[in-house]
Symmetry: none
Subunit: 129 residues, 4 copies
């Protein structure tokens, strides 16, 4: 948990929940930790987790069953990936491209740097094991 400012804590938690759904740690139709449990886990106020969960409900990634808890929605993984892809293509890429034009960076440079990046990731994953 990053308690400084890049983005709100509740957002970071929501993102983490999505990660865990994507990774399969929390499968469809499965119950996820209660607001209070996760709050303790994360060292955070329950209200904050509640807010995260609510935002995930709004995005239809999880649902609430009264008095029982929150559950991962059927095709949450597909939905999350869909959302991320849309946001990436419609929001991030245009910003990226505009910056590239301003800076006179050619796409080839991006490709080249990406390859460097992939290799360094493989290396650092190798170190972990």
């Amino acid at each position: 948990m990053e308690f400084s400012q890049p983005k709100g804590i509740y957002q970071q938690i929501a993102d983490q929940v999505c990660e865990r759904i994507l990774s399969g740690e929390w499968a469809a139709e499965e119950r996820i930790p209660s607001v209070r449990e996760l709050a303790v886990d994360m060292g955070v106020n329950p209200n904050t987790v509640a807010r995260s969960y609510q935002s995930l409900v709004d995005d239809m990634h999880i649902e609430n069953r009264r008095g029982i808890g929150y559950f991962v929605i059927q095709n949450a993984r597909e939905r999350i990936l869909e959302n991320m892809k849309n946001r990436f293509i419609n929001m991030e890429l245009p910003r990226l491209f505009r910056t590239m034009q301003k800076l006179g960076i050619k796409p080839e440079e991006i490709v080249q740097r990406y390859e460097q990046f992939s290799q360094s990731v493989q290396v650092s994953q190798g170190e972990k094991q």
Copy 2:
């Protein structure tokens, strides 16, 4: 001016000033509008413009000559480009690459979309003229 949330008004103004320096509209050693003038132009509180200017002074893109006004620093353009490039490579690209990995997007797709983007920009600029 976007008065809603993405980033602070003062940041947006600072960015615009940089744009105008880059475009050559405001050349090196030239005086830029006074805080009050720009505030009126932008429909914004003078304090806000003052803060923008101060951040630009901190980044050494402009300088204050007391009693006279703010002036573009000698090699402001180079400095601004430098800054943008550093931020882009060290901050934005890593985020970009991580997102690409998560979404399984190959760099070729980026290149392809960039070409589409460049064309559409050329077209819309043609329309303007």
Copy 3:
């Protein structure tokens, strides 16, 4: 069973019991399923069904014969209809009328839409058979 928010599970169950009494499926003086049976049927905690039954006892639609089970009260159907009608006329209609005034909807429009509704219901019932 709607496990999400509109109204409590126990209320939904109580409503369903009333429906079955109204439809004649469960006649007066007849025994209705035990708390546990109904709980299994509905995929619900027995406590929840117990609470539904208790609310129906409070409204005098069913009664508990100790050690035997719950039974539909003599004139339950009349009583249920009575209750529904009272609630409708005293609680729902005023809200409805206030909304109509705010939105400038004339009662004629309601009548017209009601006719459409009745027809569509007849059609969909025809399809079922």
Copy 4:
């Protein structure tokens, strides 16, 4: 403010804001009270008002201008009416009609009661003056 339970306080406040926009008390592009002001007015915690305002932002009835306050959006009135009408026709009317069928209430009765209602409203408004 109804501090009992029919609906949440923040909802009631949001509704009241809509009413005031509809009535013209708060015109388009106009600033509405700050979160803290309205909180004092209503005898309520600022967080609660903030939540109301946020829900109105989500519904695009008001917008936030950083550091200044909340403003009524251009065609908020039309939007609000639109929303209310949609909700009425798609959510409330079907419930109404189903209840009418269960209770064997004919639309003519609704019309008749509506006329009584309109008259009583006129009378009570006359008394106010």
